[in-house]
Symmetry: C2
Subunit: 310 residues, 2 copies
Amino acid sequence: MPNDSLASWNDGAAKEAILDFVRRVTAEREPDFVPENERIAVFDNDGTLWCEMPVPVQAFFADDRLKALAPQHPEWRTTEPFKSKLAGDMKGVMAQGIKGIAELAMATHAGMTTDEFNAIVREWLATAKHPKLGRPYTKAVYQPMLEVLEYLRAQGFSTFIVSGGGVEFMRVFAEEVYGIPPEQVVGSTIKTHFEPRGGTPVLVRDPELDFFDDKAGKPVAINKYIGRRPIACFGNSDGDREMLMWTTLGRPDGRPAFGLIVHHTDAEREFAYDRQHVLSGQLDKGLDEAPGYGWVLADMKNDWKTIFPA
Amino acid sequence: MPNDSLASWNDGAAKEAILDFVRRVTAEREPDFVPENERIAVFDNDGTLWCEMPVPVQAFFADDRLKALAPQHPEWRTTEPFKSKLAGDMKGVMAQGIKGIAELAMATHAGMTTDEFNAIVREWLATAKHPKLGRPYTKAVYQPMLEVLEYLRAQGFSTFIVSGGGVEFMRVFAEEVYGIPPEQVVGSTIKTHFEPRGGTPVLVRDPELDFFDDKAGKPVAINKYIGRRPIACFGNSDGDREMLMWTTLGRPDGRPAFGLIVHHTDAEREFAYDRQHVLSGQLDKGLDEAPGYGWVLADMKNDWKTIFPA
């Protein structure tokens, strides 16, 4: 039976699995019926809803931001990790370890108010383009997944992002691009503090990590922010493994649950990567475990008619 | 013009202010119109939606839980702060300082899975009764505020709790009692961690504070969890001062905004307390600032026809 809701999906096991699951949980008086308030679906962002190659979009943002700020920071010319980064010497950056990466992130993401940060991100997204795809990052999103989001919402689901990306970065575009409002975006956070500033209160972004929403942090964040166990989970890497487990395995409530992994198999139309791609977006354990745990693999090359919106 | 939506409110300035604000932001084509997705209203819980006297409900829970656990912990008979607490010696408990209070909280709130904790709270709420009011805590809620919640939602608002109370404690009853689903409950959190437990994954509650959602923490939590600035804020104590400020003062978006403080003035039907009540629920600065900031005071004795649901 054709279903136009997922028009960019080729007929096949992945598409059928999505439609079948939704049919089961929305059919009243059937044993698998789930009431609307419990129809929570969670989506990773980088690599699941939009392109994360060659590096996650937020890394491009940090790069551009660093260059824009460099003139105000002459000391960066002689201080690591800024020196290496501005010289395009990634080996030099890596030599500084995770501390160096964190310093770059904080220099570009902290020290301003939340309103100022939102404006900076909004402005950047309006003009920046993906280096290989040649389109704005907000158009480097996956059309088949946009259709899944819309289809699930039409069927009474609430759709949440649960991503390692910065929550205030994603909230700038998630509502317009994905139809996901700020209060349904869960992500990594840095600390902020409140300042009354004489009747014009602000929140200031501090250079300290608050929470990194990846791997085993994802179920923790789901519980903290959403407070309900999702019945559907969409990811693409081993960073999503624990939230896939939390969604689909050993549920004491006996609810049916659905897990799907977007498998990047299309070097021609997008990028092909899985086990070998260790920097970010690695999919290794998930490939081994998917069959046993019943997680559906969406093969981008074969399952998706189109990758990006027109 | 009578409005039955707030039937338990006496006609007067407070009721009129609520109705007037809602009329202004929902009237299309008027300058103060706010689209539905931005109609965020935040509510403190203790003392704003339910009774917090003589101590907040969660403290009663901790007490009962400590007594229930005591037989398994013979060492508590000789170790502070447990020894004093079990002997009913509050002076002895206080002598242990904030560290002692935290130890009591962790002993009763941590060390189990999130599912186990939910079941414990659910069971307790089903039988426990308020010592003075003689009714279940879930019926020691304020009827006029239930009406405000329902009225706002009928007018396209999303209603959130933003409370110093434990988020997993409140989520057990907030949906049934207030019509507020788990994902719209923001509160204090303790750390949790994910354990796969051989295919039956759990989240374990650890004895460490993650975030205390009070005072200047409230705007921080609003930004982190909701990601949008509320246009209406309801509180009752100086713990709500910063989120009232964040809602109503110096908004760069120019949105109209509303702040209301529930003032506990009714010793006969509930409790009367404000400036002198320093332990919790103190309302001191808020009383001074309300007129200047345009925050509405709801005088429980004069503005509320009834306090509790029948």
